[in-house]
Symmetry: C2
Subunit: 132 residues, 2 copies
DNA sequence: CCCATTTACGGGTAGATACCCAATTAATGG
DNA sequence: CCATTAATTGGGTATCTACCCGTAAATGGG
């Protein structure tokens, strides 16, 4: 029951919560990692892989690979601007549509978590996750 | 700064905390996922992949693959008991030695997290992660 | 005792993640 | 203006993770 290791407990919780969000987002055809990546791209577009990485706290190579998956799915595309090194990632029309559909589903997942925790614990969670 | 999505915040925290433990365990030659898996095997040996999966809340196929890595590293080995279907996973001598070395390093990581959070937040964290 | 169901694995496929190294392009200091 | 340094990618390699499917073994009814 009680996992002594904070890290392992955190990893278990991460898997459980991720699956709640993934399940909720299924109708939109993306998982939470992809959804979040697309939201960052939407907010910052056109944006380089490095910048996405800094914002999402992900390795650049990870971002590159994840973006490639979204490209294959037709949800984002990569252009090139002045700086020939940089990729300029933007959403496609279908990508924007997925974000619209996903927003409602994401809200449901958020609410589900808040309901599971209650008001006090939810606030605690926010604080803790920022500190960790 | 403030990630609104509980899931994304949780995933970020998971990556950060995991890297703290992975870094701490480096001298032992394993990461936190492997260390935890080995501890489960130590506690339950000889144990089947399915049972490990239930205990660790991991898919059986995941456990199978992770155990294979530990086998390649010479830290565990798989025997077979009465039930011909079941694998009976046990630690090797080297595996036990890694657990001994790792225990101190793991303690350091645990302490690091407790120090980062303080007593109150640490207790809150435990409760929250159990609820999630 | 035999067949249907359940249980346990293994492999295929695929995504998320990170580290390292090489190549290309930009920027900067002399 | 050129050489050195810095920044951006891409690809190789490797883990961790999960889902699905097929196979083999155990189990429980009839």
């Amino acid at each position: 029951m009680a996992t002594k290791c904070y890290c392992i407990a955190l990893r278990k919780a991460e898997r459980r919560v991720t699956s709640v969000y993934d399940e909720a987002l299924k109708p939109a055809g993306v998982n939470i990692a992809q959804f979040s990546l697309m939201r960052t791209i939407e907010r910052e577009a056109p944006v380089s892989l490095s910048k996405i990485g800094r914002l999402a706290e992900l390795d650049r190579s990870t971002v590159g690979r994840n973006v490639k998956v979204l490209e294959r799915m037709g949800l984002v595309k990569t252009l090139h601007g002045e700086d020939q090194r940089e990729a300029a990632v933007v959403l496609t029309a279908r990508g924007r549509s997925v974000l619209v559909d996903g927003a409602k589903l994401w809200d449901e997942a958020q609410t589900m978590i808040e309901k599971r925790l209650g008001v006090v614990a939810t606030r605690q969670l926010k604080t803790l996750l920022q500190t960790l």
